[in-house]
Amino acid sequence: MIHVNGVSKFYGTRRAVDQLDLNVRSGELFAFLGPNGAGKTTTIKMICGLLAPSGGSITVAGLPAQSSGARRQLAYVPDQPYLYDKLTGREFLRFVVEMYGIEKAHATRRIGDLIETFEMSDFIDELCESYSHGMRQRVVFASALVHDPKVLVVDEPLVGLDPRSGRIVKDLFLHQARQGVAVLMSTHLLSIAEELSDTIGIIHKGKLLARGTLPELKQQFQSDGSLEEMFLHLTGGDRPSFDRLEPVREASR
């Protein structure tokens, strides 16, 4: 469903993504791991057609990533999703439904189902400006699903969510993958990757260093330890030492 072929992206002279190859099949839940600044969000934005690759090509559901056809098949939830503060959650969902041209009666049913699924009935008719982070995330995930996407791309989905909201989101990913949706999820939470993903990809300095299931990765890198140890080893992360930090003496003025 998602095919990334030899993609590079430069920010000025800095290479953010370097000859990246990546495929996510239909029904696969792919966890995209990497340290800060590794190129995860850049790759995701290129897959969603928001950034143009400096080299290489990307297709989504067989269509060029920047085409409107690809956008019809795709849903994207960024790490800091945008909601219109002066709309209610229901009005926002209606807007998305209209944008995708879903037939009115079906749309109303769909919105009702999503409100139930994401447990939003208590707040869905209030303005989004009054929502907590968890409420906002639920509305955004609901809006991402109104058009039955074939591809779901999510950047850091669980940041700031309470356990209940987190559980809803995790179940959503598994459900979507079982329904045949290709799910690409970037995360820093290695436990989530271990718990949910079919495939794990580790990116560092724009290059994909490893790709496979967790057992495959352990075998590939001859590691018996946790994913965290493997991740730190691959990304060159010796544990930082705090010994050099001495107690502060107040400066005289």
Partner: protein
């Protein structure tokens, strides 16, 4: 799904989105403070009325004094609308650039299945409304005043609204084209482009004004007017939209419907063509530009210029250390934002240029005449304070709102909250004092004023600096807008507008209180042959002392009241 069906869905979805947003926004405003709504309405009406009175008197003056109404008005309209065209193009360009290529909303909109030109249309309406309300607020009193003076027929008042809307469409589309060009071809240097544009505009303005100031002939005579108009001929170039507007409006005012409609159609059709062109640009360049701007993040290392910090600490040891640190932080942020300091340079560049031309104004009005010299001296003081008030409204008022978003950083420092406000006050008053005192003293020396008046002006401008800074800092803390990241939008909102109005009232009170006894004294000195009561010097000094005392009281109140309100509100504020 067919492409046309998809476009139709997007149109309906965006239309419904806009109407829901507007409805909810209005509902929120109506449910909010009635006093606030009333204040907005009253101040808007006062502002409109004052502009109308100013333009009406101006047209009456042209009518009676120069007796050249039609010709002069054509030039006045030409210059006025040309200036507004330039301002509208630039402001629309900036707003479209920020709204299309930097806004978080765009990331969301571009992930939707709507076509790029449709997304542009949705955002363009917003940009147009935001940048053009001021144009209508400025243009409508001018045109109504002219209509009344020229005894224009009824259809003139309908046509001028259509003219303004068509003109706004044209200017907005041109601005949007500029924004697309910058995003696609200079995405790494948008601020440099803006700064260069600012410098070019300033240079053009200086050339224009110096040309007008150097027009030969005695001031306000027919010869002088002819030579001034001669220097403004460029505004009558037939290719300029401002000229189509002025021609059409003058025809409408004369009751000539046919040419009035003809020029309206010219302006509208050019606006429509410009919009069509920019829509095509949006279709092909919006996504590309967004990618370039978002992909063009700078990773340049910055040098701290820490030597300046040391000099600053050494120069101002009497300012508490934490406040000095806050001032240095604000100075550093200001220095690293070319969009901010280019506007700052334009403000004070204009002011400097004005003062350089005082000699001409002084000699034109009779430099040896103490009445005129003093009048010009107070005019300088008022102009300086007015420009200073726009500076404090644009740059100082938003400071607290911008700080509020990151307040947790300052809030956790071992500082009292009021120290933050006093730091902003010192920052503003310091910059203002340095910039204005030099100009006022220089201009007074050039005008040959006596030491008493120079001293008076020095103290007055200092009090104005303190008062205007306190009003902006205090009201900025009293009515912060923590949701907005763009300082220009904070400044042009309700709080910013109120800040400007309060500043104007403060300036008027301060200048008028001292200027009135001076005017009475110097007028009686120079026109004693006309039978006016001659004010003895000792009486004048007593009046002046009284007026000065009153000014000190007003100045102290202007610092104490807004700062007190701001500090109380800031202490209570939750972030």
């Amino acid at each position: 799904m067919s492409q046309s069906a998809g476009r139709q869905q997007a149109i309906v979805a965006f239309r419904d989105l806009r109407s829901s947003l507007t409805r909810n926004q209005l509902r929120g405003v109506l449910q909010g403070s009635r006093l606030r709504i009333l204040l907005i309405l009253v101040f808007s009406l006062i502002f409109w009325g004052a502009l109308f009175a100013f333009f009406y008197e101006g047209f009456q003056f042209l009518n009676s004094f120069l007796n050249a109404t039609e010709e002069v008005v054509e030039y006045v309209f030409g210059i006025f609308f040309l200036s507004l065209l330039v301002m509208l193009v630039i402001s629309n360009g900036i707003i479209v650039y920020a709204g299309m290529f930097h806004a978080r909303e765009m990331e969301y909109l571009l992930s939707l299945p709507a076509t790029d030109d449709r997304i542009f249309a949705y955002k363009f309406v917003e940009a147009l409304a935001f940048s053009s309300w001021g144009f209508v607020l400025l243009g409508s009193p001018l045109l109504v005043a002219f209509g009344i003076t020229a005894h224009a027929p009824w259809f003139y008042y309908i046509l001028f609204l259509l003219y303004l809307l068509s003109f706004v469409l044209l200017a907005g589309s041109l601005g949007a084209m500029g924004a697309f060009c910058v995003a696609n071809f200079a995405s790494h240097r948008p601020r440099t482009v803006l700064a260069v544009l600012g410098v070019i505009l300033l240079a053009s303005l200086i050339l224009l004004v110096s040309g007008v100031m150097r027009a030969p002939g005695e001031l306000l005579t027919r010869d002088w007017l002819d030579s001034v108009l001669d220097r403004l001929t460029f505004s009558q170039n037939p290719l300029l939209p401002s000229r189509w507007l002025s021609h059409g409006l003058l025809a409408a005012a004369r009751g000539e419907a046919e040419p009035a409609l003809y020029y309206l159609l010219v302006v509208f059709s050019q606006g429509a063509v410009a919009y069509l062109l920019v829509s095509v640009m949006a279709r092909d360049l919006l996504r590309r530009g967004f990618s370039r701007v978002q992909g063009g993040r700078s990773s340049r290392r910055r040098r701290g210029l820490y030597a300046i910090d040391s000099v600053f600490h050494a120069m101002f040891p009497f300012i508490p250390h934490p406040i000095r640190l806050l001032i240095l932080k604000d100075l550093r942020c200001f220095r690293r934002d070319p969009a901010q300091w280019s506007q700052f340079l334009i403000f004070f560049g204009l002011l400097g240029f004005y003062f350089l031309n005082i000699r001409k104004l002084g000699s034109g009005l009779g430099n040896s005449n103490p009445y005129w010299s003093n009048l010009v001296g107070f005019l300088n003081l008022a102009v300086t304070a007015l420009i200073l008030s726009t500076f404090t409204t644009r740059f100082i008022y938003p400071l607290l709102s911008l700080e509020g978003r990151n307040f947790w950083i300052l809030g956790l420092l071992p500082l009292k909250r009021e120290s933050i406000l006093w730091g902003k006050f010192a920052f503003s008053a310091g910059i203002s004092l340095v910039a204005t005192e030099v100009l006022v003293v220089l201009s007074d020396l050039m005008l040959g004023l006596e030491p008493l008046m120079i001293g008076l002006h020095i103290v007055l401008i200092a009090m104005l600096c303190f008062g205007l800074s306190a009003i902006s800092v205090g009201l900025g803390a009293y009515m912060p807008n923590l949701r907005e990241e763009d300082p220009s939008k904070i400044a042009s909102g309700f709080g910013g507008t109120l800040n400007l109005l309060v500043s104007l009232v403060f300036i008027a009170l301060m200048v008028a209180t001292v200027a009135l006894p001076c005017r009475a004294y110097f007028a009686s000195m120079t026109t004693n042959t006309s039978g006016l009561y001659a004010v003895p010097y000792d009486v004048f000094v007593r009046w002046l002392a009284l007026a000065f005392g009153l000014c000190v009281v007003i100045g102290v109140l202007a610092v104490a009241i807004p700062m007190g309100m701001g500090i109380r509100a800031f202490r209570r504020m939750e972030f």
